[in-house]
Amino acid sequence: MTAGAPPLVQLTGITKAFPGIIAAANVDLDVEPGEIHALLGENGAGKSTLMNILTGIYRPDAGDIRIDDCRRQFASPADAMAAGIGMVHQHFKLVRSFTVAENIHLGWERTPGLIRARDLALRTRELADRFGLAVRPDARIDELSTGEQQRVEILRVLVRRARVLIMDEPTAVLTPGEAQELFNTLRSFVAQGNAVILISHKLDEVLKIADRISVLRGGRKIATERARDCSASMLARMMVGHELPLGLTRLRRAAAAPMTAAPVLELRDVVVSDALGLTRLERISLQLHGGEILGIAGVAGNGQKELSQVMTGTRHVSSGEILLGGSDFSRRSAREFADFGVGHIPEDRLHSGLAPALSVADNALLREYRRAPVSRRGWYRPRRALALARVMASAAAVRVEDFAMPIGNLSGGNQQRLVARREMRIASRVLVAAYPARGLDVGAIDTMLRYLVELRDAGIGVILFSEELEELLNLADRIAVLCRGAITGVFDPRTASLEEIGMAMAGQRGPRG
């Protein structure tokens, strides 16, 4: 940090209200050149609002934005980008039907006037190398996994000469190794007098990478501290306003159901090829027992999406077998999987788990609309549906003012909790949970993971996809590592080390569990 230099970004008295809530109240924030500044806070603490104001998506009701000691008003994200402020959003802003190269060059003044796919791909490859982010220039965005899409987003902002880079949960889809690479990139980025604003829920990560940390709560800034003066428990306390019992346990309660002898879900040599004929899953064999949490570790984009899909009947296997309770389900439909008692918290909740334009009540019923009391002799009974939706919302601790309102109006965290609760209700045998804690704040993560433990203790088999190794080590009975569509190792969390698992994530064969 350069002493005496004016802050690169200076927010003073930023205030923004939405119907019913004050999202930001009189927030001051300085970001110095050369620093990585972390923004911490629970869901709804005002982090996103503040950053949306800084990037010109919202206009503040009151307050000043100064960039390089010069007062600015941004009418659009393009204005902010021109002033050197770029953001990598948690929900990607990519054109899904365009290629990676096209997305990188979209709306960029440095895009050549005459566009040839080969040139764009070449330029993209060069840029990707320069910024150390591996992307496939020719791939279409909708073929990419969430993790790969995020890499494209990061690259897109970096190449636009951002001086202030705002990152919303950037490491959520990276391995520890890749996260470290990203941090190195960020470090050299700020070393040139730039700044990074890092929005994160991961306390240890923030402590490791950030120079200073600002904590928001309920739309107000609680404090800005130097990272070296902070500890995880102190930050957690500032975020939620009280102590939280962090850290979960693999320990079972005495009353918990024992692990079943026979597997409830079994995959035998499962192979999945995509529309282009590329192998996405390669001879996967796995067994899940009732009363067990099987963790699936790995970098996003290594077949997690496909694996969760074949386990829930939303995608068919190219070869191999899927058995539920001993019978062959390889050719069964998603409905038959659900009827057997397989719940599914999908990776991309908004696009595959919900119909955003339909009401909260309609969405809550997606799994139970064919059952009593909502349905009787083919009739759908809206009043019963509403009653059930209320039950679900209260179990998920989501406050819904109007159940007839489109679910797309709820916040991401609340959508996630509702989906999780909805799926837990039907998961009488198996729950396939893809990143259930992603994007939730510490308190909500704790609750979400406790749900999984509850299910396990009730004798249900749980598949937990996660990018948080710590989370898997604390929670899972076994951890299988997925790399390039194959299982590269199955570990016992009691004995395995982070390094061993990390090696398997990078493709080195480990034990077969």
Binding site: D61, A62, L358, L365
Partner: protein, 351 residues
């Protein structure tokens, strides 16, 4: 005190309705200004339109005769939208249904009580057949139904022209370009108004009930709102898409049969009278509401009727088409504006 603009996720009902009313009013005012500019007197024309529309039972019957096909074509498009398909081809399915019904009516002898149901079945078949290609192409190859249904409209219209002026031309030769009178007639329910109107209303209420109060309808709504979520829940997305698209075609076909057997009693070129295209307007105006289909159809019938009246006063009929377009435009704007409101900015309490 300063004010600022705030967007609401769902507009309050009263505001939404007011915005609609303002949109219609504004469209009429725009048309009035255009008429005044052309030298006509909008006030006296408006007065004539109102008295001629509501002034006599006979005029009201005319209006009712316009409402029934508009309800059905509107319902056809509206039902398609529920599953996420834009049926731009209600016009073609109308013609194809009218053609099939007329074929039965002209060439199958028998008592009316037998022939009418046969005509109805033929008309549904005609509409479904006209939709079958686009539905298959959309469900299996992902071809946009916007284009396919639209293009088939011209095929159907030309087919009707050809039959009515060629092979099926009235051998008696009394009228030019139409078939002979079809003996089977829809019974009247009130004066000159046939049973088509109450049946259209019943079909609309039935479709609304099916969509909102049955399991099948719930699945349709989910498929239409997000087919990925529908697949995730294990719903047969493709089958639902096909079924509802064919149903949409069948409804427009019924509209064609009602027109042939209830109002026109011949098959003739231009029998569809743009009802299919106006059905798109009805469906868009109705948005998600079932009753909105009925209201939209009445509104469009009023506009059409006004056009007929105006043309007898020497005003170009295209003014009505212009008003239709303006209503759509202003409604779209009004629906969006209804989301916003002005709120006074207040001082925030200090921590």
């Amino acid at each position: 005190m300063a004010y600022r603009i705030q967007r609401l996720p769902t507009p309050p009902r009263a505001i939404a309705l007011t915005a609609r009313a303002l949109a219609v009013g504004l469209a009429l005012i725009t048309a009035g200004v255009a008429l005044a500019w052309k030298g006509a007197s909008p006030w006296s024309l408006a007065h004539e339109v109102i008295t001629d529309t509501f002034g006599s039972a006979f005029a009201l019957e005319d209006l009712a005769l316009l409402v029934s096909p508009l309800i059905l074509t509107g319902l056809s498009v509206w039902v398609g939208l529920r599953v996420g398909a834009w049926n731009i081809g209600a016009e073609g399915q109308f013609n194809s249904g009218a053609l099939a019904a007329a074929g039965v009516g002209l060439f199958v002898p028998g008592p009316t009580a037998v022939v009418l149901p046969l005509m109805l079945i033929a008309a549904i078949g005609g509409g479904v057949l006209w939709m079958a290609g686009p539905a298959l192409a959309r469900a299996y190859v992902g071809v946009s139904e916007l284009i396919t249904t639209l293009l088939l409209n011209f095929v159907a219209a030309l087919l009707v022209y050809w039959l009515a002026t060629g092979p099926w031309l009235d051998p008696g030769g009394r009228a030019i370009g139409t078939t002979a009178r079809i003996p089977a007639e829809m019974p009247a329910v009130w004066g000159g108004v046939h049973w088509g109107l109450p049946l259209a209303v019943l079909l609309t209420l039935g479709a609304g009930t099916l969509l909102n109060y049955t399991r099948w309808g719930y699945e349709i709504r989910v498929c239409g709102a997000n087919s990925d979520a529908a697949r995730y829940a294990g719903m047969p997305v493709r089958r639902h898409l096909m079924t509802v698209m064919l149903l949409s075609g069948g409804l427009a076909g019924i509209a064609g049969m009602f027109e042939v057997a209830g109002t026109v009693h011949h098959l003739q070129g231009g029998i569809s009278n743009n009802f299919g295209y106006l059905g798109i307007m009805v469906a868009v105006l109705a948005r998600r509401s079932t009753l909105g289909v009925l209201a939209g159809a009445v509104f469009m019938a009023l506009l059409l009727n006004s056009g007929t009246i105006l043309s007898t006063r020497g005003v170009d009929v295209s003014i009505v088409l212009a008003v239709t377009g303006l209503v759509l435009l202003y409604t779209a704007i009004g629906d969006e504006v209804a989301h916003y409101r002005l709120v006074p900015t207040r001082e925030l309490p200090c921590p």
